[in-house]
Structure formats: structure tokens, C-alpha cells
């Protein structure tokens, strides 16, 4: 079993309403140092051993992320 972690975030320039709301909320709670909050998705993927990262990239481009509005980053998880 191989594991990958996938982070999906909005592309630069795409407004992120939940992130902007969280940002305002943190500032109003007194965390004046906060200048930006971006909220995205975190996906944990378990696949058969030997699955290439290219396959995972394909999965992201096709279904897990929308390349029109989102970027994704893939990290293989090393087993402890």
C-alpha cells in the first residue's frame, strides 16, 4: 500500500470566500498579525504499491481538482 497526500488550493487570483471570511474573523479576534488565509482541500490517497506519481497527477487533473480554478500539490507519504 502506497500513500499520497494531496493539497488542493485555489489558483492565484481566484477569490476564496471562506478564506477571506476566516481572515477577517481572526483579525477581529485580535490576531492583527494575520494578513492572509487561504482554505483548500486535503486528500489522503491509498493506492497499490508501485503506483506512479504520474497516475496520481492524472487523477488530480481529471477529478480531484479543477485545473481551471485550482492548483494541486502531491506528496508521497514515507512509511515509518
Amino acid at each position: 500500500m502506497a500513500r499520497f497526500q494531496i493539497f488542493v488550493t485555489y489558483k492565484k487570483g481566484i477569490f476564496d470566500p471562506p478564506g477571506a471570511t476566516a481572515e477577517r474573523a481572526l483579525v477581529s479576534l485580535g490576531y492583527d498579525e494575520v494578513s492572509s488565509v487561504k482554505i483548500g482541500k486535503f486528500i489522503q490517497l491509498e493506492v497499490a504499491d508501485g503506483t506512479s506519481e504520474e497516475r496520481v497527477v492524472e487523477m488530480c487533473g481529471k477529478l480531484l481538482a479543477n485545473p481551471v480554478i485550482e492548483d494541486f500539490r502531491i506528496e508521497p507519504v514515507e512509511e515509518a
Partner: protein
């Protein structure tokens, strides 16, 4: 004419579309998302709702339903396809229309009457004169249309922007008139050819005179008229 109304798991506006078609004297039947045969239909409707629970992204899973490959072929042959609300989201996910629909800017689900301005466009589903105001309700959480500046310029040049949100008097507010924050107040767009139309507002809900407003009828009568003309 005969409309085919696709039902995905989680669609919930399909009955309204069938009713609207009947009120206007047209035939309409359901198409199951697992079906792959669209023969006998003159136009395909992807109705509103929450297909596949809106999981991953709205329309992201429905786009891979067996019926969608056939809908794409139907559209590529020039067949008229309309996506309403969730149907619009599915059309963008399927790349039949450019751009994407993000969460409403105010983070709230919005259900309200809106005023829309008809733009000069190539859309086969809209033959109302440019500048005509239509009162059609919206009912969504992800209607905040977005695309890159190049796509917006291209759509503008090609006459692909069909409907814009506006104030009740037809003007556009300085900070935007779209209740959902949509780019350039965009409420509905079509493809270059004009046969594929996607919009967030629900025209099918304002067709029956019993509800008091019939401004949505023009969408269905436009395509019927066009199909009658081209045979």
C-alpha cells in the same frame, strides 16, 4: 418538440422542467444518468439540484456519468443543450462551457428573485432582444462565475455572454449587481456555436402563468422556434 431531461442522483428540478415544457405545449421525458441513448430528443436539459451530493466540486462527479459522454457528442453535433444551476456547473466541469462556478461571495445560499439583462449573443436559447429585462429566480450556493481575463475577452468578442444580473431598472451597480459575486455580473453563457447554454437562474420556475411571472418561457420558446426554422 421533445426535451430530454437528465436525472442524476441528487437532481431535484427535473419535474419543474417537465412541467414548464408541458405548459408551453412541448413534450418532455426523463433521461436516466446511466442511459447512453438520446435518440428521439430535440434538446437536452441538465436540471438543477445537487448531483452526487456536490461532492468534490459541484458537477465534478456527474460529469463522468455514462449519459454525459452522449450529451457531449450530442452537443458536438450541434444539438441544443441547456444546463440550469447545477446543470450549468456540470457543463463547465465537462468543459462544454468555459470557466467555473465558485462558492457565493457572501458564503450564503441565495434563494431570491433576480433581474437579468439579455445581452447580444449567439445563444440559440435566447431570442429576446438585447436589453430585455427578465425576472428569473436564483437558488444556489455556488453561482459565483469565474474565468480568466483572456476567456472573458474571448467570450465578449464571440457573443457568448447571454445574461447578466442587473438592478430592477436594468442598470448595473458600481460594485456589481450579481448577488453571488459573479465576475462581470455574468448569469448565463453559451459556447461559441450558441447551442450549449448554461445559466444559474431557474427559467423553468417562471413559465406557468399560475406563478405570476412567465419571463422564463422565452428560453424554451427560443429554442423551439429555432428548431422549427432549421427543421
Amino acid at each position: 418538440m421533445r426535451f430530454g431531461v437528465v436525472i442524476f442522483p441528487g437532481s431535484n428540478c427535473e419535474q419543474d422542467v417537465i412541467h414548464a415544457a408541458h405548459v408551453l405545449g412541448h413534450e418532455a421525458d426523463f433521461v436516466w444518468h446511466g442511459d447512453t441513448d438520446l435518440s428521439g430528443f430535440d434538446a437536452i436539459v441538465l436540471p438543477g439540484g445537487f448531483s452526487y451530493g456536490d461532492y468534490i466540486r459541484c458537477g465534478a462527479v456527474a460529469r463522468f456519468s455514462p449519459v454525459m459522454a452522449e450529451v457531449v457528442r450530442f452537443a458536438e453535433r450541434g444539438g441544443p443543450v441547456i444546463g440550469i444551476c447545477n446543470g450549468f456547473q456540470i457543463l463547465t466541469e465537462a468543459h462544454l462551457l468555459p470557466g467555473a462556478l465558485l462558492r457565493n461571495r457572501g458564503l450564503k445560499f441565495i434563494c431570491k428573485q433576480t433581474t437579468l439583462k439579455v445581452e447580444a449573443s449567439a445563444c440559440q436559447w435566447m431570442d429576446a432582444a438585447p436589453g430585455t429585462l427578465l425576472r428569473i429566480p436564483i437558488n444556489h450556493n455556488e453561482g459565483n462565475y469565474i474565468c480568466d481575463p483572456e476567456t472573458l475577452a474571448r467570450m465578449e468578442a464571440n457573443g457568448q455572454i447571454v445574461l447578466r444580473y442587473c438592478e430592477p431598472d436594468g442598470s448595473r451597480a458600481e460594485g456589481g449587481s450579481a448577488p453571488n459575486g459573479a465576475l462581470d455580473d455574468i448569469a448565463g453563457i453559451c459556447n461559441e456555436r450558441g447551442n450549449v447554454f448554461g445559466l444559474m437562474p431557474h427559467p423553468e420556475r417562471v413559465v406557468d402563468p399560475a406563478v405570476g411571472i412567465t419571463d422564463g418561457a422565452v428560453v424554451f420558446t427560443s429554442i423551439a422556434k429555432r428548431l422549427a426554422e432549421v427543421g
